[in-house]
Symmetry: C2
Subunit: 279 residues, 2 copies
């Protein structure tokens, strides 16, 4: 591990720095270092962040939904393979002690029309086998803080991959419950729903703000991009703010909007909003 860097504690989806694999790193100053993928995905994500940062048509109240971008930097890769270019981003969970996090990939299709047939087929299969096609989104990862004793509930990737619509409904309830556990027999109490999902600063309000922007913006089409929902259960248990935040991440498959709204993202976002509003 390069000095001064560490593997993120709270990564719930994506490539992870472990078992000799290259993965993202964080430092103590709240930066998140995401290794650039060698193929066009790496350059596409740099291009997105560069374009987004300098685009003066993005309203300020929308910018807060995106990690801050601090350029790229050559640092030692997490697998010890030498210097590798990394995106330097805001570590969006650094201010949380025990963040409960859900990563939700938005869109009923994760491929863009101009992609190769091979790529489309690969994504299409995944979209069809997951809830993406039916729901317009799929859960890619999550961790829910239980208690000091029980720690986090962080279901296995394989389990998450096979989530059905019914599972998604249940997990969205578990995410804001005080009695979260791996035990599927426990009926989630949704104790924190009104403070985390609801309220003027809650997740639903934030998603609705994003939705209004997506009804209008024709700059970007975000394929295979995720909504992160983050909050701090300890904090809300103690009667403080839940710190509920929505962030968009993963822009390796962003294409130009060419004057057309991102109806694929918007449709999926509306579906997620409906699921959450029913809790």
């Amino acid at each position: 591990m390069p000095l001064g860097f560490q593997v993120p504690d709270h990564q719930v989806a994506g490539h992870q720095a472990c078992d000799g694999m290259v993965g993202p790193l964080v430092d103590d100053s709240g930066h998140f270092y995401k290794p650039l993928q060698n193929d066009e995905r790496g350059s596409a994500e740099v291009a997105f962040y560069t374009s987004f940062s300098s685009n003066n048509k993005i309203p300020n109240h929308i910018r807060r939904f995106f990690p801050l971008f601090h350029g790229t930097q050559l640092i030692e890769a997490s697998d010890g393979s030498g210097l590798h270019p990394h995106l330097v981003l805001q570590d969006v969970v650094s201010s949380y002690h025990n963040p409960s996090i859900m990563d939700i990939k938005i869109g009923s299709r994760t491929w863009y029309p101009e992609a190769s047939d091979e790529y489309i087929q690969k994504c299409f299969k995944k979209d069809r086998e997951s809830t993406s096609l039916a729901l317009g989104f799929r859960i890619s990862g999550l961790q829910v803080h239980g208690s000091k004793e029980s720690g986090f509930w962080k279901p296995d990737k394989k389990l998450i991959k096979n989530f059905t619509a019914k599972d998604v409904r249940l997990v969205l309830r578990k995410f804001v419950s005080s009695n979260t556990s791996a035990d599927s027999g426990v009926d989630p109490d949704c104790f924190f729903a009104s403070t985390v999902y609801g309220g003027s600063a809650g997740i639903l309000a934030q998603l609705l703000e994003l939705k209004a922007w997506f009804e209008d913006q024709t700059i970007f089409h975000l394929y295979s991009c995720s909504v992160l929902m983050i909050y701090d259960k300890d904090s809300v248990s103690k009667g403080r703010s839940s710190g509920a935040e929505v962030k968009l991440v993963d822009f390796a498959h962003v294409v130009e909007g060419k004057g057309i709204i991102d109806h694929n993202f918007l449709g999926g976002l509306c579906s997620l909003i409906k699921f959450i509003s029913e809790i």
Copy 2:
């Protein structure tokens, strides 16, 4: 032709009763007779209208966007092949003299997840070759009234099939222009845009009302369904109401919503709204 029936004057898309083909008929009392397709599409459309008519969860202000349903009836088919079951629907254009009409198929995909692979492939190809995939909708047919002398501008089906995003933008402008002509060199003046698209009773206001319902309703998923936009240019020229109306038609590919919003329809509808709002 069976006595008392005639071929509709103002049909812009779909199977037409001509050249010995079976097609819809109308009568003098404002009914539209749509021959049931022999395969599952016919029964699916009857099932939809029956279910929709009797569903008390459909708000009244939404019902007006659907043709009234008067059951089914055995009548002589338009091709003289004998008695055939028909859907008896409201003829949504019977009250117009020279209606300008556009038929827009909504959704970036026209197939439903449970369909056969063969059917999906067929639709997928059409969606990709038309503007459906990129825009979330495609124009299926249109007629625009010019003047008494010039009559209607009704582009050929083959021409419509090859519409690009740019063509769609132009045609949506031509639809509400006083100088509409087949000549692509003429810049449409959008003379009627504010009265037809705009205003509290205009098409945009109606589409927004529909949108609000689609953000919430989880009863039906409408695949391959069209929005009809209808208005009367003569009427608006004379300073009277434009009679602008939005109707949904073609429900042969409706499936149950199963508690999930129709994000495919909603996304496409939002894209159409954005296109129209820019005019």
